[in-house]
Amino acid sequence: MSEIAVTSSGRSRGVKFRPVTQDSSFARYTLIATAVLFLALFLFAPLAIVFVEAFSKGIGPFLTAFGDPDARAAIRLTLLVAAISVPANLVFGLAASWSIAKFSFPGKSVLITLIDLPFSVSPVVAGLVYVLVFGGQGLFGPWLAAHGVQIIFAVPGIVLATIFVTFPFVARELIPLMEEQGKIEEEAALTLGASGFKTFLTVTLPNIKWGLLYGVLLCNARAMGEFGAVSVVSGHIRGLTNTIPLQVEILYNEYNNVAAFALAVLLAGLALVTLGLKTFLEWRHADALSGRARRH
């Protein structure tokens, strides 16, 4: 194909002109092909094989996997853990963003850095710190043992570890969003006589609802899918302290591929729904999300 680069895009008879700010079609096709191939091999194939393996013996064995009482217990536990940790971090996110975005005080950036801290801690280390606090050899271990309270190798430990790894999700979406929106609307509502709580409900909440949903979505996906941190504190007791990801690990290590991938389908489905909703929110409500928050 004969192409001539020009400074302003234009067409003339016989020759196809290409603006100088565009790459040649050879470069374009090569780069697109490279990117598509790379994403297909490294992202699409791992997702596709989850479904292929789960249905490799047909729909029957796939469904049988969900009849297993241990699998059901794992699903129930995962739902329970998410039902506690997501609202906990939601309330925290609201409190943190209200105090940080609507007021000015010294040390704010340090506080924001500290809130982001759990994202830079390895999941395994996140589990370990709770073992150091509540475990048998830990800080409160002897006291807890004496009072018959078990946190590590029990559900409370799993909840705590999940709260830790999903800690920043809601806050880091809401803080920049509320900072961008400022506090003029709230001040107007308060001056007009609304109570603080009413101002929050009728002025702030409608402004941040999409950002809030976005944060909750990501928080929930991570809470249901967390593996490393939960694995350290769970103790892997079948039917009692196994979440879905831990049950997947056990089934996989027992060479029960179909059952492992069947449960993995649940998590992959959750990931796809999360991605879909996230993309929808970014596309449809981009103006109601924070432009400054890092998108992950």
């Binding site: 780069l31 790379f38 194939a45 370990l128 830790f164 308060l190 890092r294």
Partner: protein, 287 residues
Amino acid sequence: MTSPSLVGKNARRFAAPSVIPGFGLTFGYTLIYLGVIVLFPLATLIWWSSGLGFSGLYAIASEPRVAASLRTTFFISFAAAFVDLFFGLIVAWVLTRYDFPGRRLLDAFVDLPFALPTAVAGISLAALYSPNGWFGAPLADYDIKIAFTRWGILVALIFIGLPFVVRTVQPIISELEAELEEASATLGAGRLQTVIRVMLPPLAPALLTGFALAFARSIGEYGSVIFIAGNIAYVSEIAPLLIVVKLEQYDVPGATGIATIMLAISFAALLLINLVQAWSRRRFGHV
């Protein structure tokens, strides 16, 4: 409340005066929750490792099996972040600069490693690259083994780190000014020259940030790696796995020591990111 008393009361306050209520409640709750969930447990880790002292930490780090796992983790994370840097730039470039059918879908798909639980990524990568898997079987014909070797760790970490590079670089590519490219072209530069000498330099800080984010994430990654790594001591054992192994052996000081070293590495990476961004703001006026 009369206004003089309001001013007088606020003057002694921590936060600047405001008509908006609820600072004490929300700020107090934020501090307590942050302290209980994050700071106190992390402080316990620091306290435990300070009990070990530098000599104790050094003794743990120089244990052959620990040293091997730290080396494996560090170098393979570095290599994976490097691969992500290269392909992440291409993916980000393609997604921002070109329009082609399926671009939106591909763009949404880049976040898959963030959304897919690591255990699921782990077993599916292991299934793909195992000797009878989609990719493992053809590679086995050429005597190339990926699963259950160090290459498996590399593959998993490339998967995990990719979105960090793409999502950091993408906004900067879309902000590149067309005028600079046109100026470069009118001054006689070829397209490749323009790309390399005019367009890539402003991307450098974002690329470095993306690299450091992918690297920091890879250092701590556990779920997606352990299924494909084979976990052979001294060869394909990563540091986070060794923490788990030590805990199972009730060697809490050993686990704490490794965790402290890993924390130090990832905080160093974060510090690097902050320095790069500060430099970038001065040099290019953007992050």
